[in-house]
């Protein structure tokens, strides 16, 4: 294989990290990895554990993919990425079992299913295979934190309404009427949809503001000339 011409490395910036948090949030913007998002966010604790596991897999696999990116031939890259991702999923599977069996039982098969989370393969293919080790790790961490943030958004609303608790602590009085639907799968869709609407609405208002202020400056310029 011909090695590409050496390029000037752009430095690692904060923006690479924050892109995953908001502008390219994996769930709210890119809509990647929705299966675990809908399945395990019926409580905040599950959501956070899932987020932590995903961060681990994401950072680990992207680091390895990025480190080996000149070594891996193009023809077998997907196979290789899957092997690497599966490795980290197996690791996290063991680690969670070692840390808390209860958490492991609560997350069920979804730990193993991280391996097919398209977010992770997507980032390996789209980012880590083309960028330096440092940048890949930072970007993966950003994506992972963004993913966890989104899971926590869903998990907190669903747990609060679905069982009146937050992280297992009773928030409302004992008399609270749980919205059973929120813990069930439809609740996941409804809450995800509501968050999407909210974020899109905020975004639209912001762009509108920018456009109208632009228009205003244009007008004044015209008047002056």
């Amino acid at each position: 294989m011909s090695t590409p011409a050496p390029k000037q490395e752009t430095p690692v910036t904060l923006e690479i990290f924050t892109a995953g948090l908001w502008k390219e949030n994996p769930i709210f913007v890119m809509m990647l990895g929705l299966c675990p998002t809908l399945a395990v966010t019926n409580s905040l604790a599950n959501a956070l554990a899932m987020g932590a596991a995903t961060i681990f897999v994401l950072v680990g696999s992207n680091a390895l993919v990025s480190g080996l990116r000149h070594f891996i031939p193009k023809q077998i890259r997907i196979t290789t990425y899957i092997i690497i991702i599966a490795t980290f999923v197996t690791l996290v599977d063991y680690l969670i079992q070692a840390i808390s069996l209860e958490m492991y039982n609560a997350l069920g098969a979804f730990i193993q299913l991280i391996v097919v989370n398209c977010l992770i393969l997507g980032r390996a293919e789209a980012y880590a295979s083309k960028n330096s080790f440092n940048k890949s790790v930072v970007s993966a961490a950003g994506m992972g934190v963004g993913f966890t943030f989104a899971l926590a958004c869903l998990g907190s609303v669903r747990e609060l309404l679905g069982s009146g608790k937050l992280l297992g602590f009773q928030v409302f009085s004992d008399n609270f009427e749980p919205w059973v639907v929120m813990i069930l799968p439809p609740g996941g869709f409804i809450v995800l949809g509501s968050w999407l609407i909210l974020f899109k609405w905020i975004e639209q208002r912001q762009t509108k503001k920018i456009i109208s202020s632009d228009a205003a400056t244009h007008c004044t310029v015209k008047h002056n000339s």
Partner: protein, 349 residues
Amino acid sequence: MAEKSPKIDIRTSPYIRRAPTVPEIMRHVVYALLPICAYSVYQFGISALTSMIVTTAAAVGAEHFFCRMAEKRSTIGDFSAVITGLLLALTLPPGFPLWMGAVGGFISIALGKALFGGLGFNVFNPALVGRAFVQAAFPVAITTWTPAFALNRFSEFIPSTLAFPFMTADPTAEWTLNTAIDGFTGATPLALMKFQGVMTDAKDLFLGTVAGSAGEPSSLLILLCGAYLVYKKMLDWRITAAVIFGTFITAGFFHLMNPSQYPSASFMIFSGGLMFAAVFMTTDMVSSPVTPLGIFIIGFLVGFMTVIIRLFGALTEAVMYAILFGNAATPIIESFTQPRIFGARRDKD
């Protein structure tokens, strides 16, 4: 700001007869619903009244809110949100906690209507979307029935009505015991049929002296109000007829197979919310089909599903799911049943 262009109304012929506008139609539907509401209040007292006020207010408020968010002109003037709120209240138990009713009213508009782009674009009947949500969210409260014609229904609320927001409703069992006229257990005719094999007399069902949702008991009144809308040409009686026909055929079939296990067709038609749904829900102009054959297919499907779910499903009341199912099937049925345009030839493939 764009200049306002002069408004030219373009209509198809004939030009003399004016088609009723949306607010006009909706207003007449509200008129038709009012006697049912009044009878419901007479039956269940002030709890039913407050329930209607709260759901309607929530629905109208939600409509206004979403119009504002979308920066459109508020459409609460067309009465469609009022209808949604009233329909929802009439499908809920009379003692349904008010805060849950408000949630239902909001969800009706939010998920049932605003999400699809407002009136005219909704796939499902908004009131039923709201009811399906509260059914899934609060399964206990929505199956807590209180007796009709309780003695002090005009002076005090059903205890569950006034539940504090987000709190569980007070149990109504004791209240029911104290106020019921005689031997009332809080079970609807459908529940009695399903779990105890007891059939309620068709006359009671027809006149509405049984427990049930706020608006479902009296089939007679519902039919009269429906007749008014049919007379005003604001209701497609063919849908109602098709639903009842579908129920009749399916229930009759099972009844003939095994009369001791399956109730008669007349029981199926007059019990629960079927009559109310057939007249006011399936005929919703937006979510019901328009092609003649489609009307029949969907109506029959709704009736068929209702009987099947009632007899073999885990739930006692099934009309809601049957109609939502029918709503979902409407677009595809319509596309299959497009009438041939006069003179047009069918394409070979």
